[in-house]
Symmetry: C2
Subunit: 391 residues, 2 copies
């Protein structure tokens, strides 16, 4: 059912491009453009919850109030955050340039940026890059890969996904970054496209449902960036109108695949950790508990060591904003029960955490709520990458 | 005015001891005893807010409901947390043994433990250790040092403080651990003594005020442990009854000195970082904002690098649970303004963070609230120590 090789221009009606525009000093790809040729121009988006929002986020939120987008232009090499009114004018000028070369209105163009916070973008390079991008626009796998590559910062590889449903519609996209949570000054950016013929309310509801179960469940280091943006573009070119539940499921599958790629390429990652909490009073409390474990540096260094030190997990669970009776706490590591009824059982070393994947299961025995958060370990490489990077 | 060399038995009416009882396999000191010879037995305490509380915390909270304590027995080498009813019986039995050798009631004995979570204590060693401790009890500097040494886990040195007020009363004490926040399975334990003649409500109020400004403002890694305990013992032996404000100020000074020593000896520390927030709507929001920066791994790795990457601080401030206008955000690093009105100013590299001390000043321009949190950097040594330790 799936062909995950083709990315953001996999769905009918989309073209993409990626180029090295000279924003990055090292000459690597640093700009991308995605264009929706229709017939629909429906779009939906979700943006960072950080109160310090980058200029391109403020711009894109504004133009998306129409519920429509024809193009998205993205750059790496600079976040254009904490750049004041001048930075906002830069985002606006970039959209105007895209509108000019495509013969559309600037209000149809979203802008995304990622990189170091607090520096203005080199606008001559950006505006020249837009012209190069427009000439390179094409459908298919090569241009999808170019676009996915143009937004990379500390990513070691592009992240793409695509899925064609048996009923005839396709969902595809790319993502960059190592989480919703700002690893480095890199930030999470993602553009997902579909040729399904869905209206704006359906697209918006499906996107929010998918994000709640995928992107918002990845927590690498707790730091939601100033630039996080996920945009969904709908061309309708397949002329297939799926049931909203079918469409949401397909969109969720593509998003989950992109998130798994983000987790696998997170900064310094040596372990892929899944924290699954059940028995909470509510699903929200289960997610909050899983997130507390996912953010705890003592748990994360134990994961790095492959150390089944479940006492650190019990400590983190005890600090979570949730109500439970500690004498009912169960903890299972990669299938081995290590804590039952709040007390250690058996030999903790029987839990084998030496492999790449670690599954932490916590049962609070306080209700029917459940939720899962994906995270990574805290390694020497994470410290190295984040103490050596930039400025 | 101050003599900070003598610790927990500096005040009149106190004796202390520390021994190697064989709980730790490496033969290092692992037990301590502090005895209040009166005439007063007033005591106050604060305990971890973690919902998963260690057995000795449950025991000590119970006996402290009387507002009085005659002795505190402490051990390192095991946290006695997540050990169930059997673990609670171990704490009780330890208190009974202390009561027996001192000729007092078990209800007058608090118990503190620190070390790995989830393992039962070797009770024969603990009970024999109590007998050894009782024989070693003495006033003065040597026994204070022994007691401070007996509770160390990953601490590299004992932390002690004492202060004699001109009016004639003394406050002294020790602390162990690298924060309120569980570094390793080590936990924050502290015993502070005074010969001031203050009643229980005064002692309790002074302790809570002092802790709010000192211990609760240190955040090494966000993980409040299962065992955190701070006890204040009052002998009244100086026969001086200070004004409550004078007493609170003296107690706060000793606590602040102990906290500075905890910060300086935090796991893997290479930078002593002070996050000072002003202009918040309330003091609580200022502290919450400072804590968000203190807990952010991207900020902490930048501190490790001595990198004035203020964009990461802006990102963390934007994630804090506080209301402010991002276009009013000012950030100053070691006296150099790097962000003003939400926009970068000047050359960020003019801020020199190469030394041991880093002062981060954030002004939200949203009100008159202010607050400070102490933290440390996130270094390779932190990862090493926490991935190599135990189990």
């Amino acid at each position: 059912m799936t062909d995950r090789s083709t990315g953001v221009a996999a769905a009918k009606g989309f073209r993409a491009a990626g180029v090295a525009a000279g924003i990055k000093a090292n000459g690597k790809p640093d700009m991308a453009l995605v264009v929706n040729d229709g017939p629909s121009a429906v779009a939906a988006g979700v943006f960072t919850s950080n109160k310090v929002k980058a200029a391109p986020v403020l711009w894109s939120q504004q133009v998306l109030t129409t519920g429509k987008l024809t193009a998205v232009v993205l750059n790496s090499g600079g976040a254009n955050a904490c750049t004041g009114p001048g930075g906002f004018q830069d985002s606006h000028a970039t959209a105007e340039k895209v509108a000019e070369v495509l013969g559309i209105g600037a209000i149809e163009v979203a802008v995304c940026s990622t990189g170091l916070i607090g520096e203005r973008l080199p606008m001559p390079a950006v505006l020249a890059g837009v012209e190069t991008l427009a000439k390179a626009l094409a459908p298919g796998a090569d241009s999808s890969l170019d676009a996915a590559s143009g937004v990379m910062t500390t990513d070691s590889r592009p992240k793409q996904s695509a899925l064609t449903h048996p009923s005839g519609f396709t969902v595809g996209g790319f993502a960059k970054g190592a989480g919703m949570c700002a690893p480095n000054m890199a930030t999470m950016l993602s553009v997902v496209t579909t040729d399904a013929a869905v209206d704006q309310p359906t697209a918006d509801a499906a996107l929010r449902a998918a994000v709640g179960q995928t992107f918002n469940r990845l927590d690498v280091d707790g730091g939601t960036s100033t630039n996080d943006t996920l945009l969904l573009l709908v061309s309708g070119a397949s002329e297939v109108t799926p049931d909203p539940e079918v469409f949401t499921a397909a969109l969720t599958e593509v998003c989950a695949d992109l998130v798994a790629q983000l987790q696998a390429d997170a900064e310094g990652v040596t372990k892929h950790v899944t924290i699954s909490v059940s028995g909470a009073r509510t699903d929200a409390e289960a997610v909050a508990t899983a997130r507390e474990v996912a953010r705890d540096n003592l748990c994360k260094t134990a994961f790095f060591a492959g150390d089944p030190n479940w006492g650190r997990i019990a400590m983190a669970v005890g600090n979570a904003p949730t109500e439970f009776d500690p004498s009912g706490l169960d903890i299972t590591l990669n299938g081995t029960v290590v804590c039952q009824g709040g007390v250690g059982v058996g030999d903790r070393m029987a839990a084998d955490l030496s492999g790449l994947d670690i599954l932490v299961e916590v049962d609070l025995h306080a209700g029917g709520g459940r939720g899962t958060v994906l995270t990574t370990d805290l390694s020497h490489a994470y410290v190295e990458e984040n103490s050596a990077y930039s400025s």
